[in-house]
Amino acid sequence: MCHPIEHFCCQNPDCPAYGLRDQGNLRYQGYSGHKKQIRMIRCRTCQARFSERKGTPLEHCRLSKAKALSVLAHLREGCGTRSTGRLVGVSKDTVTRMARKAGQHAEASHAKHVAFSPSDPRSPAR
């Protein structure tokens, strides 16, 4: 699935629009990765260019998207690290690395999507 551009935000910490979504400053520009399947995004404010995978557990992942998602799906279903590695066909260390990234992402995602604090400008729903 492809997220609409409004769901992305500039990932450059030096950019004034860093972390702000739906500001109209981003646009898709080109592709990267094996078989050029990963969309690249450009920020018009700071001219930074980054992958659509930046800020997700799939960042810097050399596995195919389907395989990476399969690893996380197996973990979510209660498979252990080693059994996930055997079932998906990847190393157990790869599974552990993906679990670490998924945990970081889940923490950030929970903070964003389940934020009700009135001092927080983010909406409770995306």
């Binding site: 699935m1 997220h3 769901h7 992305f8 935000c9 990932q11 910490p13 860093y18 972390g19 659509e52 995978r53 930046k54 800020g55 997700t56 557990p57 799939l58 998602l69 996380l72 799906a73 973990l75 979510r76 279903e77 209660g78 498979c79 252990g80 690290t81 059994s83 552990t96 679990a99 670490r100 990234k101 998924a102 945990g103 970081q104 992402h105 889940a106 923490e107 950030a108 995602s109 929970h110 964003k112 999507h113 389940v114 934020a115 009700f116 604090s117 009135p118 409770p124 729903a125 995306r126």
Partner: protein
């Protein structure tokens, strides 16, 4: 974590991260939404972090009914977390003061549940009202659409679900956690993903002629559909490491 608590030497630095790890979980009983999770040792610091998490996610509202087990740190954490500052209390007229004797908001209610077991079976359940008054408790129980008793059933049921979804928490297997950071990461991943991706059977509603499955996030009004694992994972975030 890594080895059993009874085998850990607390004077050994190497055993600091080993032994028992608890999931301090706050759940909204009506929507089953997990508000906050603090994996760690069963200390006051963990309870304080959990109460602060709940306070943040509920906009600092105090008209809440909280229940927990009888772990003493929860009471201390709630007393510290919801304590009304002295300056706020003195600014208000006496008749409008919203605080009790312990400087806690008068509309906050906290009760505990103690279960006595014999040969693994619960034989007695004792509830106690710790903060608040009986009339307020009765009002909150009447307001609740899911339960009319003081209980911790919802979080206990969620713990059961989590044990099935996270292989590290399955009993009597070799899949237990060996490293603390991976354990915490998996806890966050399984519990927070549950909010958006896991339809809860008892949240199903009748939508016309069809039954509509709902996730806790849908019940809480945070989203309008069940997220797939792909949608959850590929949603870009600003992560701490970046």
């Amino acid at each position: 974590m890594a080895k059993k608590e009874k085998h850990c030497d607390r004077d050994e630095v190497a055993d600091n991260d080993k032994g028992d790890q608890w999931d301090h979980t706050a759940i909204d009983a009506e929507s089953r939404l997990i508000l906050s999770v603090i994996p760690g040792r069963r200390t006051l610091a963990s309870c304080l972090a959990l109460v602060q998490g709940v306070k943040d996610k509920t906009e600092g509202r105090t008209n809440l009914f909280l229940t927990s087990d009888e772990h003493a740190s929860y009471e201390t954490a709630i007393a510290k977390g919801y304590k009304v500052p002295e300056s706020d209390a003195t600014d208000k007229p006496v008749d409008e003061a919203t605080q009790s004797e312990d400087n806690l908001p008068s509309d906050l209610c906290y009760a505990t549940v103690r279960k006595t077991r014999k040969q693994g079976r619960v034989i007695e359940v004792v509830t106690a009202l710790v903060v608040g008054v009986i009339s307020l408790l009765a009002r909150y129980l009447k307001r609740s659409s899911v339960s009319d008793t003081i209980n911790t059933s919802f979080v206990e049921r969620q713990n059961g679900t989590d044990r099935c979804q996270n292989s590290r928490k399955k009993r009597k297997t070799y899949g237990f956690s060996k490293k603390l950071d991976v354990h915490q990461a998996m806890t966050y991943f399984t519990l927070y993903r549950y909010n958006f991706c896991w339809p809860v059977r008892t949240l199903t509603v009748q939508n016309g002629l069809q039954k509509m499955k709902r996730t806790p996030a849908m019940a809480a009004g945070l989203t309008d559909h069940i997220w797939s694992i792909e949608e959850w994972v590929t949603y870009p975030m600003i992560m701490g490491s970046q």
